[in-house]
């Protein structure tokens, strides 16, 4: 069983980025670029929000 929070978040981001890239773009090159950008955005936002929650716990 995968219990890594970061691992789960990255896996989730991968699936969502893949589907959105395919829905939003038609050319393979565009899909790869858009998907990679989306995935990086998800991962970066996850890390930033994680650190903010560390400093300001709910």
């Amino acid at each position: 069983m995968m219990s890594s929070h970061v691992g789960s978040m990255l896996l989730f981001s991968g699936f969502v980025s893949l589907v959105f890239a395919l829905l939003m773009k038609d050319e393979v090159g565009e899909q790869v670029r858009f998907g990679a950008m989306l995935f990086a955005g998800f991962a970066a936002a996850g890390v930033v929000l994680g650190w903010l929650m560390f400093a300001f716990p709910l």
Binding site: M1, S3, S8, F12, V16, V19, L23, V28
Partner: protein
Amino acid sequence: MARRQPAPKDTTAAALVCALAWAVPGAGHLWLGRAQKGAAFLIALPLMYATGLWLDGQIFPFDFAQPLVALAALADVGIGAPYLVARALGVGEGRVVAVTYEYGNAFLVVAGLLNTLVVLDAYDIALGRK
């Protein structure tokens, strides 16, 4: 200047494509000749749903006394055949004490919602809008 309207297509056929796209993720795109997208959806969305089940997520019941649970149940149904298969096999009971329970729920719900977007995309393609 008049806005160019797409050529009218058969809405009945488009509705059938939607039903097919809902039942089997990606099948609508495959039917419409978008093989690359269809194959990717066919693999990715059921895999995402299966990952949610593997992470001890719960397939929510239609409990209208709890509106958020009912909405989550509606989202779960969005994945189509994998939902029916999971229900038939009796999986997706969820294990609340599992550390991955909430992650599993997120995977299940979002897989269903993503397939709903895929259905809408197939509908647009069938009507000639894309």
